[in-house]
Symmetry: C2
Subunit: 364 residues, 2 copies
């Protein structure tokens, strides 16, 4: 049985295709009787309603917006910060009727979602350094909002005060008297498919020249590290920077153990994220180091995780939901604006230090 299209119905009813189209899209452009007949016939023939793809082609819009995530889409459902962000996006999108399409930055089978999936606009939330997806997206000329990326003159961006938050975290432990401070960062290689570069900047381990290494990192990682380091240096404190290159609790715990097993171990550790901070907590527990008695730990994000561990994490809170709302709003207005890009909004949400049980004064 051939597919039922507008034409099928038009032939059956004996009207033009256009009239059938109108029956679906512009109810007031034709007589009620005609419309009823058409709809009845469509129903009888099992017509599905106008084909979304064809309609998208001619209208130039697809009814969905994309969110570019990591290579690993499931991350978007697993990480507390990501889910909060996406929930906000979903909420903000609801009144518009737009669907939400999750795009993985790395396609398979020759498919590059960022290039091959029809969307009306994109939230660039990728956590990858791999620039291909971003390039495809820019070239498509789609309305796009950068989230947690280095601001760009041409594109709206939404982010948080990573630098300020990091400084606040560092100043907090400094105020508690700590002078040898570990810094555990995540980053550099965004995916697992980045070639090992021989500059000592790849892989986990202690970084001899963190600022130099950070130059190639993703924006947020670099900003947070700078905040930590600037505050520490300003106070003349010693920074022991270690890097975790892979996602997951285990790599974080391993690296933290390495940091804490060194002869002159730090008395406080500032972490790029709560996830890493939990790794530090685990390592400390393994090594019999008391937190916060012997070691202070500060996380970042105020992930739901932060209050689920003992002691609860002192951390830098970011408003992931607000970030999602702002990003979605920016995208929606960019979608509406069309070409006439009047201004390029740049939203920077504040961060806030939340002191909980994982930090304490330096023991004499």
């Amino acid at each position: 049985m051939a597919r039922v299209t507008l034409q099928t119905i038009a032939d059956e009813v004996g009207v033009s295709r256009m009239t059938v189209s109108n029956a679906f899209n512009k109810p007031d452009q034709l007589s009620a009787a005609m419309r009823a007949t058409i709809l009845e016939t469509a129903d009888r023939l099992g017509y599905t309603g106008p084909d979304p793809t064809a309609r998208a082609l001619v209208r130039g819009s697809s009814g969905a917006v994309g969110v570019l995530l990591t290579d690993d889409l499931a991350y978007g459902f697993r990480d507390g910060v990501a889910t909060e962000f996406l929930a906000a996006v979903a909420d903000a999108l609801a009144p518009t009727g737009l669907a939400l399409t999750l795009l993985s930055s790395q396609g398979r089978e020759g498919v590059v979602p960022a290039r091959d999936v029809a969307v009306d606009g994109v939230l660039f939330f990728a956590c990858t350094l791999d620039p291909t997806a971003r390039e495809w997206l820019s070239r498509r000329g789609l309305p796009m909002v950068l989230v947690d990326q280095e601001p760009d003159d041409a594109l709206p961006s939404v982010g948080i005060d990573d630098y300020g938050g990091a400084r606040a975290a560092a100043e907090h432990v400094l105020a508690l008297g700590h002078r040898r401070v570990g810094v555990l960062v995540f980053g550099g290689a965004g995916g697992d498919d980045v070639d090992d570069v021989d500059d000592g900047a790849e892989g986990s381990g202690r970084l001899t020249d963190p600022r130099a290494a950070a130059a190639g990192w993703k924006y947020v990682a670099e900003r947070r590290l700078s905040g930590f380091l600037d505050a520490l240096e300003a106070a003349g404190a010693e920074a022991v920077v270690h890097r975790v290159a892979e996602h997951g609790d285990q790599p974080a715990t391993d690296e933290a153990r390495a940091m804490l097993s060194a002869p002159d171990r730090p008395t406080a550790v500032l972490c790029y994220s709560d996830v890493l901070a939990v790794g530090v907590l685990h390592a400390a527990a393994d090594l019999g180091i008391d937190v916060p008695g012997d070691l202070s730990v500060v996380g970042f994000d105020d992930n739901p995780l932060a209050t689920r561990v003992r002691p609860e994490l002192t951390t830098v809170r970011q408003d992931s939901y607000g970030k999602g709302t702002a990003a979605a709003q920016a995208l929606i207005s960019a979608l509406g604006a069309g070409e006439e890009t009047t201004s390029v909004p740049r939203v920077v949400l504040p961060t806030q230090l939340v002191v909980r049980g994982s930090t304490g004064p330096l023991e004499a």
Copy 2:
């Protein structure tokens, strides 16, 4: 500036549109030199690569699969069971390069995502009774997999043994000696826009004829209730069934409080979900009722939540990740099969009672 299309490049290079198309899609159909020229020109002109929508129209596939969720998309990012399911779907989709589109069952502004968004197939994971979305989807003739829905002869389905799990839960409290058992169910009205029907089956409160009321509920709710009730009746125990009509912790707590404030309050409560069970825990705490000393509470799902409360919940575990994997797999194979629907797979995953601290023997 006019849009750059295949034709633009073809004109520029002086070849036919087809050759340019081939340069992108069938690299081995033309000379390397030609291809290089074309690609270079495309790049120079800022060509984006073939337009996804146009390609989708002619190829008949869009590169994305949809998941139909509730009215409230954000639910998919907030509920532990949903995120686990979706993470599995995302993982299973990764090797195919398919994007994941979240469809809300209820569109806005005249848009019905289930009808208006282009997808190649759909996972029907809606938690709404509202049949419109489902109808649109069926009519579109898209490959579709039912998740946690009443199995249907024509469509593949994936679900869990809700009935068996519920029976096991009931038998557990029965074995502990409980004879007056509360049952807290969720359901009936799926959305907030369902008209109040005057049959006493809507709204929260105690149900006088639970089985009758359940007839109109969504499948999972009905199955679980049946399991609870069958086991309870078989043992000659008394069932006190209350229903919660709205999502959220507060409605659950309120209804639980009503149930537990009654003169002859039950000594055990079986819940439709862990979320509801947590509400019972809260109500019990408010009322000074000790769990499990004075009251046993059983949840359902083994939501991550279950081990985050004190006492940890005795619950019926379901494998949400496995469910997602199975559903995605079924959809992928349906996508591949095309029309020749050989068989209609029906997957029913087992459930398992997990006894934790929220249940205990009936105190004499």
